[in-house]
Amino acid sequence: MTSSSIQGERRQRFDSLVSVFYQDMYRFAAWLSRDKAIAEDVVQEALLRAWKSLDALRDDDAAKPWLLTIVRRENARYFEKRRLETVDIDNLSASQAALLAESPNEELDDLRTAIFGLDDDYREPLVLQVLMGYSTSEIAEMMGLKQGAVLTRLHRARHKLKDSVEQ
């Protein structure tokens, strides 16, 4: 097989995976960073990193957790590099506020604001479970936690959201 045909196949494989999982990557980045502009930057970096290390992905069935793990690392790297401060929910930038200003439904707006206000420790496993469809044991593996810790965080996250929307 020639080098150019290997490159072509590699690119085709990458494009196919990205077309399937791009939306998940972006939404995960958006809820991790709580900022649409940062999410776009994080996804760009994640795509670049995934492209460079694509040959390490031996089984395409594992592509989704592989890509989300890359997004997770890139997000952490982004915040480490810039030493960004904790988001102040009463003083949001335009691209932070953009994440909250999309729904015409008032109840969903309130819930989205409540999710936005959750601590990272609670928000991340909730996104992985509700939006990405992972089991608590898979989330534990991705986040390097014990399953019991994930269950506790999820339980508390839902209670915080329930309390927020009931107020």
């Binding site: 399937v20 469809g133 339980h155 839902r158």
Partner: protein
């Protein structure tokens, strides 16, 4: 299991399917379970932020001199590989059609039949229902909700068709397994019949998406269609 333990478990994972004997006899916990499942659905909707168009970064050339070949796709129940293959087939089909070489009649019905052909394991007769956990994983709340109703769901797998997430369910019909593909991103203008070698079915328009229902040639599908339409709610 007592009320407190059950509620902690259901709040941590609304798909939790343990504690059956407790919840069956506790109306408060039944109400709490419904409340958590409803909250979960609203959380999923709230998390569905708009996604901007993909902007692919400039990808550098990679030294592939040490690479002899890509991993061989396995022909088995591997939804992602199949989706990629199906996407390539569709892209090829579209490009051929655009080139005017010949008029292709490639359609969503063909995708559905091809998908069923490539997951033969899904059509094994079974009397075992999939767990709630499995069902929720196959039908993530970000796409749709599916109420079991009286159907016996024997297979549930998240699949991909044409690059879109497609929950793939199989229920037990009168004469054998019946495949249900929930396709929230595949809009069809009208009910579209599906005719395969040994199967028949239909793709029904549902909101901005569609649902394919495919059974054996003798399977009466009318009642199943009605039940399925009552069971599914898109959340996208």
């Amino acid at each position: 299991m007592n009320c407190e333990e059950y509620r902690e478990a259901i709040a941590a994972d609304p798909a939790f399917d343990g504690g059956v004997s407790h919840v069956a006899g506790c109306s408060d916990c039944q109400a709490y379970q419904r409340e958590m499942q409803s909250l979960n659905l609203r959380i999923a909707k709230a998390m569905l932020v708009d996604v901007p168009e993909l902007k692919m970064p400039e990808l550098p050339d990679i030294d592939t001199s040490g690479v002899t070949s890509l991993p061989t796709p396995k022909r088995s129940m591997k939804p992602v590989w199949f989706a990629i293959a199906a996407t390539v087939v569709l892209a090829t089909s579209i490009s051929v059609r655009m080139s005017g070489v010949f008029e292709s009649d490639y359609s969503l019905a063909d995708d559905v039949l091809a998908h069923i052909d490539h997951e033969p394991g899904s059509l094994r007769a079974s009397n075992a229902a999939v767990s709630d956990d499995r069902l929720v994983r196959a039908v993530p709340a970000s796409l749709a909700t599916y109420e079991r109703g009286e159907s016996l769901i024997t297979y549930a797998q998240p699949c991909v068709i044409n690059g879109n997430s497609v929950p793939h369910l199989v229920i037990r019909g009168q004469y054998g397994p019946v495949t249900i593909l929930l396709m929230p991103d595949e809009k069809v203008a009208e009910a579209t019949p599906i005719e395969g070698a040994n199967v028949k079915g239909v793709i029904l328009p549902v909101g901005d998406g569609s649902i394919a229902i495919v059974g054996g040639r003798d399977e009466p599908l009318e009642a199943i269609k009605k039940n399925v339409l009552n069971s599914v709610t898109w959340t996208t």
